[in-house]
């Protein structure tokens, strides 16, 4: 464990640097040190752990685009190897920032540090969720669903036309590239091509595993639980319920409206952690707190948010929380682009090399080894 850890907030209105939490409580810091840490964090990459030395202190800092102005910093002891603890420190920084911005009074920094609790980097479904939280990325995905393969320069021009403003294609492309939905490669000397490798679908599924496990424990409870889930997905007519298989152009399709909501829930780190803990079975707040290593007050607060989003449901008399719906974002092979590649090749819109490479990439991603 580092010698000391502290959370700093830069209040740009008036106060400047405010150390909101510190451990040990006797830790003193001066304005110069805080300024230099902030300078380093501004120079470095966000969402990664930074390290530098100042006034004989070995300091790490973690900041994130998601929480502007916040930093979690640690002072390492002389024998700590930064490379060995880098990922743990980033994970605890991620968790502390998420907790701080949720409710800074609801957790003890010391307890979090001593428990070694961390928030891991984004899971695959969280990375996919990021696509729909960046409007230009979602727009690019739609374009790629039609084009399949496209020159980066052409795509950039198209996006500029859509947004009617200067746009950084790389930035818009980042969530798509990080989640493996598209791949960008230089073919030949100058032609940078964008290939669609995966398509994505966001929807709510019934919490099947949780219901099965609940049935094993208490059939009576499971029956009541299933009643609520059925009410949501397939209520008695004339109500239509939730049917994600309806096409997006169907006015009753829940997909378009709901997709952004689902993405927000999955991308929000604490909400995701708590919802993931409920995928297996209904739990009490203290069980969730134990399973997720999050303070009970934070768990209760997040559950209320999930309840309003029709993700969680509370069984007061049983002191249990369960998933009403299980938000998912999944990728699938975009088979529909195969004729598009063929057509583009025949009309010489793309070179044989580009078509071959696209098929190779699709095979690498989706092919099965026999």
């Amino acid at each position: 464990m580092p010698k000391a850890t502290f959370v700093v907030h830069l209040d740009l209105s008036f106060q400047g640097f405010v150390v909101t939490q510190r451990h040990p409580s006797m830790l003193t810091l001066n304005e110069k040190v805080l300024n230099l840490i902030f300078l380093e964090s501004e120079k470095g990459k966000k969402d990664e752990l930074g390290y530098f030395e100042i006034e004989g202190m070995r300091i790490t800092y973690y900041s994130s685009e998601q929480y502007p102005g916040w930093m979690v910093c640690s002072i390492l002891s002389a024998d700590e190897d930064i490379d060995l603890i880098r990922s743990d420190l980033a994970g605890s920084g991620r968790l502390i920032l998420a907790l701080t911005t949720e409710d800074s009074k609801a957790f003890s920094l010391e307890e979090i540090l001593q428990s070694g609790s961390v928030l891991k980097d984004l899971t695959e479904e969280q990375q996919l969720a990021e696509i729909f939280l960046t409007p230009s990325s979602a727009l690019l995905l739609e374009r790629m669903q039609t084009e399949g393969v496209e020159k980066a320069a052409k795509l950039s021009l198209w996006l500029k036309g859509q947004i009617q403003d200067e746009v950084d294609l790389r930035e818009a492309m980042t969530p798509l590239m990080q989640s493996g939905v598209v791949m960008v490669e230089l073919l030949g000397k100058t032609s940078e091509m964008v290939f669609l490798i995966k398509d994505v679908m966001g929807y709510r599924e019934p919490p099947v595993d949780a219901i099965i496990n609940a049935k094993e424990k208490s059939p009576e409870f499971a029956k009541r639980y299933m009643g609520y889930v059925e009410e949501f997905f397939s209520p008695p007519p004339p109500r239509k319920g939730y049917n994600p298989t309806l096409l997006v152009d169907d006015p009753n399709s829940p997909i378009m409206d709901d997709r952004e909501k689902i993405s927000k829930i999955l991308a929000e780190k604490l909400q995701y952690r708590i919802l993931a803990s409920l995928r297996d079975m209904p739990l009490s707040i203290s069980d969730i707190s134990h399973k997720t290593a999050l303070p009970q007050t934070v768990v209760a607060k997040v559950l209320r948010t999930l309840e309003t989003e029709k993700v969680a449901i509370h069984f007061e008399e049983d002191d249990l929380w369960a998933l009403l719906t299980n938000p998912r974002i999944q990728s699938f092979m975009p088979e529909y682009i195969l004729p598009v590649i063929n057509k583009k090749l025949l009309s010489k819109e793309i070179t044989p090399e580009a078509a071959r490479r696209h098929l190779e990439l699709l095979m690498n991603a989706w092919g099965e080894v026999k």
């Binding site: 907030h9 209105s13 008036f14 902030f38 300078l39 501004e42």
Partner: protein, 283 residues
């Protein structure tokens, strides 16, 4: 400090809002306030002011039929003081503006009233290249003895003016002028109501400082910008008029090491605050 003032109507519609600090989450906040108003309409607050903590802030609310008044303030703020201000604001609104609001008329004059009640702090950023006398200007404003050795500022140094100006506390943000800190300037001047660009009055420095004026106008277009032609006691100094012509902003002479300039400088800042308010009003 009060960071935002909101008045909502009977239909939970936003009648008036004003933020004193930029926020990335404004849309979420407004949605939250509308929902909170919806809830408050189901309870009776008996014209009392109550508050709740939300993330790092404290939201104060009070109701006078059919209006809901809200302040977003800091947890550290004095509750009694904020409650007092809430009382002043709701009294003033009910007395002079409620009929206008009910008739969907413009609330002319209410904005100034809000400023008068809610503005308790003004951020003044001091910007300029290295060695032009920013920190000396800060010491002068605070009436402090000048240090004998030049100690370059690291990042930003934040200090309060000992006295209030226009009933508000002045918080001075003295930004480091060394080029390695230049990546912080755009960020650190956010929310400043007044930006003071200090030059050493040499032609070279004043020409370079034009970039700072552009930066300020891009980043904080609502801020009042003033130039300072410092080191007027040196033979190489351009006149304040010439410095002002080059910078394109009102510019004032200064010898920051001369304490007799203190009152004059405070008056300049006072005027800048008032002019800033007047410009905001006319806009």
């Amino acid at each position: 400090m009060i960071r935002g003032v909101y008045v909502l109507g009977e239909q939970e519609n936003m009648i008036y809002s004003k933020e004193y600090a930029r926020s990335d989450t404004r849309a979420n906040l407004v949605e939250f306030l509308v929902n909170l108003t919806h809830y408050l309409n189901t309870v009776d607050l008996e014209e009392k002011t109550e508050f709740m903590n939300v993330a790092g802030s404290r939201i104060f609310y009070s109701q006078r039929e059919p209006f809901t008044f809200m302040f977003v303030a800091d947890k550290a703020d004095d509750v009694t003081q904020i409650e007092e201000k809430m009382g002043q604001l709701s009294d003033s609104f009910m007395r002079d503006y409620s009929n206008l609001a009910l008739a969907n008329q413009s609330l002319a004059g209410f904005d100034e009233k809000v400023d008068e009640i809610a503005v308790t702090m003004v951020k003044v950023a001091i910007l300029g290249f290295a060695g032009v006398g920013k920190t000396t200007t800060l010491h002068l404003l605070r009436g402090e003895t000048l240090p004998l050795i030049h100690d370059p500022t690291i990042g930003v140094s934040i200090k309060k003016l000992p006295e209030e100006v226009e009933n508000a506390n002045i918080v001075l943000w003295d930004l480091a002028g060394q080029s390695r800190f230049s990546i912080l300037w755009a960020k650190m001047i956010a929310n400043a109501q007044v930006v003071v660009i200090v030059t050493d009055s040499t032609l070279e420095n004043v020409l370079r400082s034009k970039k700072l004026v552009s930066l300020v106008k891009d980043e904080v277009p609502d801020a009042k910008v003033i130039g300072i032609a410092n080191k007027q006691d040196l033979p190489t100094a351009l006149t304040p008029e010439r410095v002002g012509q080059i910078l394109g902003v009102p510019t004032y002479e200064l010898v920051a090491i001369d304490i007799s300039y203190r009152d004059r400088l405070i008056q300049i800042i006072r005027r800048a605050i008032l002019e800033g308010k007047a410009e905001a009003k006319s806009a």
